[in-house]
Amino acid sequence: MAVSTKYELKIGPATREAFGKALVEVGKKNADVVVCDADLSKSTMTTFFAKEFPERFIQCGIAEANMVAIGSGLAAAGKIPFVSSFSAFVINKGFEQLRVTAAYPNVNLKVVGTHSGISIGEDGPSQMSIEDLSLSCNLPGFVVFAPADEVSMKAVIHVTAEHVGPVIVRAGRSKAAQVYEPGTEFHIGGSHELLSGSDVAIFANGLLVAEAIRAAEQLDAAGISARVIDVYSIKPIDRAAIEKASKECRAIVVCEEHLKDTGIGTRVAQVAAETTPCVMEFVGVDNTYAESGTPEAVIEKYGLLAKNIVEAVHKVLARKK
């Protein structure tokens, strides 16, 4: 469950690092696990696996579309391939291959996109993926995860390796706040209520989970009780948690490091609309591309901080009947 200190979060390793380490663990557990990388293994952290299991590490060069389809072939022949690159490359450039060679024939392919969102900072928009969750949800049969921290990423990688079927996992570049205690369980279609609350429900994933917790602290000081839910399983999404939050809080804010118009906000809104609709607000990248800068400066400029979530909460509460 959530860390014992109610609001204070320690900074931990990046989720890409947790992914790289977990990959070695699943590699030790299962000899069929193989890893494909497109000349970014030092960044995606698959280099840990490459060192431990060189004979099961497949260097694909800078050719993501080919890598995804090779992964599908490996999967169809009984391997458990993890293919990895930056989200912007493996999902966007590999999308057609994800569709035809993996989703449509439903092969056991695992895809991990690192450096997701705008928090990569200095490298700028060509490397920033702000549409990957939307694209990923356009692949029938794929499970999609966006873990927030080290503990959740490690657990999700184990779940991913054990699940028979295609999975996409979103990882980030920057160090991530430690949200979970070791031993917390994660599963396909799950979510975690990190803070209880009754005035508004804040749904978040990835780095925005920590921002949502910080927002809840500020709201608490203003006498507003905010529930914070980590929707780490993007697809399938935890419909029961959304319905419950909508019924009990009657106001929802969804925040994400993704294009606001096409991310999990639309999925949460769909479930609320299908069950118990309520007023909603959304925090995300607003129909634009970001720019270079320190991660902190970029996140602030593009409105993904706790203060932006607080603002959205005030807006949604003003509309709440």
């Binding site: 090779i70 992964g71 072939g73 169809a76 391997k79 035809v100 060679t101 449509y104």
Partner: protein, 273 residues
């Protein structure tokens, strides 16, 4: 299924396959006869002579695998697999109809014995290389065969896969280019030329065998040569005639993706009698 290495018997099977191709596309009122007819000898030689496989046990782990990259030519694959005993011959004429196992492009959901769902050009070679690589890692003697179209070879991913296959020495894979020189919009040379195709593959590090893809003995010889060649993957450039076997379809871009009328079907079947 009775396998044979006898070229005359393979020619007989090829003729039956061509008849199925014409009949099923006519029944469907749509489909791709030209590139199915050009690929016939190669596909028949693979299923009836070259590949180790068992229609009664399609999931056999050590089977050889075949992927039709140019998925639109699936009538030749469906007809050959039906003749080999994988699927019912008497349902071939349900091709492209709702609920038919014979989908418009190969679909593993409907025929699990297919190795890959194809149709979006340029992806089958990469998938095949993944399979061949898995076999190598496992010490599995399984070989993988992938047939590409010439038009398909305009896709950049083919050349990504070509670089990969040579670097990773995937010598348990054979790629066949059905080089019939015609694509949907016209002649390859007028759309986006591939020549010198043999030199291209050589420069990408592949063992290249250049043959007449309708000469069954030459096709067999090329596959045997490929099996013995170690250290590089092999590509067989099979020079073929689009629409081969039906005089009015031969070398005519019109028959890339047009179904024959009932009258044209009758004429074609007469030639294939």
């Amino acid at each position: 299924m009775t396998k044979t290495s006898n070229p005359a018997e393979l020619a007989e099977i090829s003729k039956r396959v061509r008849r199925h191709i014409i009949e099923m596309i006519t029944a469907a009122k749509s489909g791709h006869p030209g590139g199915s007819l050009s690929a016939t000898e190669v596909v028949v030689a693979l299923f009836f002579d070259i590949m180790k496989h068992d229609p009664a046990n399609p999931a056999w782990k050590q089977r050889d695998r075949f992927i039709l990259g140019k998925g639109h030519a699936c009538p030749v694959l469906y007809s050959t697999m039906a003749e080999a005993g994988y699927t019912p011959i008497d349902q071939l004429n349900t091709f492209r109809q709702l609920g038919s196992i014979y989908q418009g492009h190969p679909d593993v959901r409907f025929i699990p014995a297919l190795e890959a769902s194809t149709g979006s050009l340029g992806e089958g070679l990469s998938v095949g290389i993944g399979m061949a690589l898995a076999a190598k890692m496992d010490g599995n003697p399984s070989r993988t065969f992938v047939m590409l179209g010439d038009g398909e070879s305009q896709e950049g991913q083919i050349w990504e896969a070509a670089m990969f296959g040579a670097f990773h020495k995937v010598d348990n894979l054979v790629c066949i280019v059905d080089y019939n020189k015609i694509q949907l919009d016209g002649f390859v040379k007028d759309i986006m030329p591939l020549d010198p195709l043999v030199d291209k593959w050589k420069s990408f590090g592949w063992n290249v065998i250049d043959i007449d893809g309708h000469d069954i003995a030459a096709v067999q010889k090329a596959f045997h040569e490929a099996e013995g060649f170690k250290g590089k993957p092999t590509v067989i450039v099979a020079n073929t005639i689009k629409g081969k076997g039906v005089s009015f379809m031969e070398n005519n871009p019109k028959w890339h993706g047009t179904a024959p009328s009932k009258e044209e079907c009758a004429l074609a079947l007469k030639e294939l009698a």
